[in-house]
Symmetry: C5
Subunit: 87 residues, 5 copies
């Protein structure tokens, strides 16, 4: 999985029906060891994450599994809010 | 998912039959936070996106799921037109 | 999918049986917008592409789907020859 | 698979139920040939790896398979502790 | 698929049972066009490749398919030894 920070969301009226009902969050994937900003992606939110929160993101077909609808056109999902990093 | 901008399309007469009927759009994946141009890919268009529009792109096996034909040889699909970015 | 250019092929006598019968083409994935050479990969050819031709490549599990043998050990396939780019 | 080094773990109380019971380890994927630090990811630990240990990480849908729950929202898992590198 | 060069192997006693019996080879993925060293990964060997040999590597879920055990926690496999490159 990936460590990310929620930085906003996108609004899309004209979209695939299977996306309806999901908040589409803009998440910045981050590298804590180098403080580098990696990719910026869009993930559905399954745990009610807010802007500025550090989150756990799953990608690829495993993101579909998180939605319990295995044929959803989804390749990224927020599946946890990170409380602490123990390093 | 990914944020992209439609920049054109490709025409391919000699292709796999399963691609017939789909517009093959050239999409520039973009990083809003760094204004960097990432990869340029080709995605089928499922929502009637036009050139210059910002779109939501799903990749990998989840793109196949968007076509409802789970064995389509497709790894990228436009599944939404972005109205606004709330950041 | 990806835009690529066929630059050659590899010959492999000692290989998985499921690859037998397929031409193994070396394809340079390219970024038209930056003229950058991306990854160089090996893809099976499903449409009779020749050296120097611009092709459409599908990757990951969707490449398996293109072969109609869903358990083939294949992660990249040429599925179209590009006639024109409309940008 | 990937060579990684365990550098810590994350704690997430508010998360998908399917993650409950797994330790969420922060793993630095490393390139031994260039001593470069690649991506930093979060992987579930299936073999009891400790901080500072070199581990074998599987990613994507294959990571789900490692959990024996094929619909787990997991895309990275530690599946081995590396004793030695023979190069 | 990818072009790689076998540079060694890893030994892991404490690992997932499904990996038992496979040699875990360290493979350097290479870009012939730019002579660049790409990622260094670990792949199971299905064709008896030796150190220094150029090999064909399949990745992702397709690597699982190569093992005929579709739920193996494997995301990279050596599926061919390259005799020649015709470029």
């Amino acid at each position: 999985m990936y460590i990310g920070k929620v930085v906003g969301n996108v609004v899309s009226t004209k979209k695939e029906a299977a996306l309806t009902g999901y908040k589409l969050m803009i998440v910045e994937l981050i590298q804590r060891n180098t403080q580098e900003k990696l990719e910026e992606i869009v993930a559905i939110d399954l745990v009610g994450a807010g802007r500025g929160e550090f989150v756990l993101v799953v990608r690829g077909s495993s993101a579909r599994m998180a939605t319990k609808k295995h044929d959803a056109p989804i390749d990224a999902a927020i599946i946890g809010i990170i409380d602490t990093f123990d390093e």
